[in-house]
Amino acid sequence: MKIIYSDALIVGGGLAGLRSAIATKEKGLDTIVISMVPVKRSHSVAAQGGMQAALANSVMGEGDNEDVHFADTVKGSDWGCDQEVARMFVATAPKAIRELANWGVPWSRISAGERTVIMNGQKEIIQESQDAHGLINARDFGGTKKWRTCYTSDATGHTMLYAVANEALRRNVIIHDRKEAISIIHDEKKAIGVIARDLVNGELIAYVAKGTMIATGGYGRIYKQSTNAIICKGIGTAIALETGIATLGNMEAVQFHPTPIVPSAILLTEGCRGDGGVLRDKDGYRFMPDYEPEKKELASRDVVSRRMIQHIRAGKGVPSPYGEHLWLDISILGRKHIEKNLRDVQDIAKTFNGIDPADEGSKGWMPVLPMQHYSMGGVRTKPTGESTTLDGLFAAGEAACWDLHGFNRLGGNSVSEAVVSGMIVGEHFATYCKERNLNANTSVISKFMQKQSDYLNEILAYNGKENIFDIKDEMRSIMQEEVGIFRNEEGLQRAVKRLEELLIMTKQINVKSKIRGNNPELNEAYRVPKMLKIALCVAKGALERRESRGAHYREDYIKRDDLNWLKRTITRWEAPEATTPTISYEELDIAKMELPPAFRGYGRKDSIIEHPQSMERTQEIEAFKATHPDMDRFELQEQLMPFELPLDYKKKNQRIGAEYA
């Protein structure tokens, strides 16, 4: 039995995992990161548009600070997020971005003087101050009050991931790639590592550590059409679920992005619209202002996606061999802007569709359609990042439901979350590992090892008629059609029922090659059941949640129902042989919120069933503010909703003009 020991084990080498590894290294812990793919290929690399942090360097960000970022995030989440976590996040994000600059991320910088930008489809001239010259620039993104999204052209995730990975290598983080975690080792009380499969030769390895972190990213690939990389299958989330102890949060909260290109499903960054690009229908008509007069194309993603589908349903879609779509027009930004700031977009359109988006007029329009993009749900954790129910198991990044994003995350907030949670959760994780001894019982380890080995043999021995690829395809189609942008009772019931059947069918397959080594079909055979479990959590959570909130939209319950549904969905897989998850809820306490539920400022105004407490809390806060006119924003905040941060992360952030205010 091959056992590899370390102090801290991190599953997943994306931004969240690697930044956490730096935190554990900083504390002198032996750290191993395992990853399905070479870490620099992790999906973080694909983030294009940018990272949110309230630096307020540009004139368009003037007046921005933690408070504004906080409010945007909470509104974006449709009040589904954990406000304490959101506070922790916004206070740390500016530090994260400055740390990344020190590690070599070549952030786009501000040039003092005049600059032409496109706002609302119109050219406007803005004037950057001399003080800001050379400081980190920001662009506009959906759902934000200020220009807050820092970027490196449209390869932000790439430069960030490389900087963090290089720094991790500098600090001698040990990286084992092409290792897939397939089970979490635990002794009913705490997690002590994972069983991983070496994807080169099929060997099983037990990675044992004082603490284990899941940073495995999202689960978008349970959908037929997704912008996610093909490794985003949610396996890390699934193995947490399979412990039967750890729980998942808000799995039904799945984000759809308005503008992936048709048909290859490659994302065209939000930066397209942020920089001034517009959406057009089959008549070339710009339709978003009709639906969202204020934010137009830049309303939050869930809103824009729904409006697009709504518009297509109204008969305005452009027909194509791949179904109907709409147009994204960035040609109005001009060739120069596109070739500098949206080069990857241009490259994608040229390579995959033969379109040069800088071509003027309709020639440069790109076909787009909303598709799955981000998983708000994940391993449910406390604000420290530790699982609420399984000691020693931490989660960070997209794999976690830390709960920064609630029911909708804002563009630019997730790479930001990945790094910030790597800093905060990574630090708590490091402390946890530091304070514990490695007392792993070998019999527990070998029990888990044996179980996985038996499981793989069992799969190879299946002798049924089903085909794992068909099962997977059907799952992905069901998710797409029944658990997509628009959801309803009937469809969701059908989905849950069929997904259960599919899960049972995964035991009725026949894997052609019987080798345990490098066998791609075997990979599929053990991954698909895990994906189905995740899909069931999403579908069942969506079925039970009879309201609409953020990205979760029920055609039969179109209102956000704060009265009954201001709560987080918690799913658990009670027994290994179960075919559906068990659902429970965690209430969100309005009385503790710094920002009580209200209208988001975009979407439909009349669609909220209010909770009486919202008003009470609002009045309470107003009254408190009125009676404490001398308090500055930090003191007020502290009084309304105290939060804690490790290291110096709570230190005030300096800004030009405002200094530390």
């Binding site: 070599g104 990975a165 990389a229």
Partner: protein, 246 residues
Amino acid sequence: MHRVYEDGGREIVLTIFRHNPNDEDSIPHFQDYPIIERPGMTLYIALTQIYTSMDHDVSFDFVCRAGICGSCAMVVNGKPRLACRTLTSEFSEGKITLLPLPTFQHIKDLSVDTGTFMNAMTKRVEGWIVNNSPQDISTIEKPIDPELSDEIFELDRCIECGICLASCATKVMRPNFVGAVGLNRVARFSLDPHDSRSDEEFYELIGDDDGIFGCMSFMGCQDHCPKHLPLQKQIAYMRNKMVKVR
């Protein structure tokens, strides 16, 4: 209105190198897979189709399938390139031969181990920022000339796909050669004002015949790099710098 949807429907043949070095019984050979071309078909789509419907045992590596992550480099009709960015319609004869990327440890079929090499390369050229002055991340960041920042970004765009190595005759002959990917990395950090290293220090990393002086200017890197990085310019720039080091 647009010519997005070109015709498809012809039969194309993918000839794939098959071998599993970890399996003693495996004999290297080529296997033909005839498939029907679809409009806009990339090698990612074609290979996935072969894998799901014809042969569940072919191995290859795709991650982002959008030309961003650098996973899918392979040799397509003799040229190393990113498979996910290669349209089958480019090959008018309809015959496409696929080989795994040379110069890397072969895993199986079209899959090779780039991760181990690239991590080792990063450590070898110390491809990270070196700066020992204390930094307070709650204060305003160091201002950087906007154009310089863009210039660094240009070089930071390398996706470690390994194509420059597989296209490089020097690397093919001399496995210890660090290659364009490593030399470009050093050039990138030498430009960065956050990095405090001097040319003397960079010389210690690449000043030998496995490093900058090993490059024989075959330009395979420059001509095949999918990110069109200015590799020739960067290597020349580093060479000029390095010969001047006393």
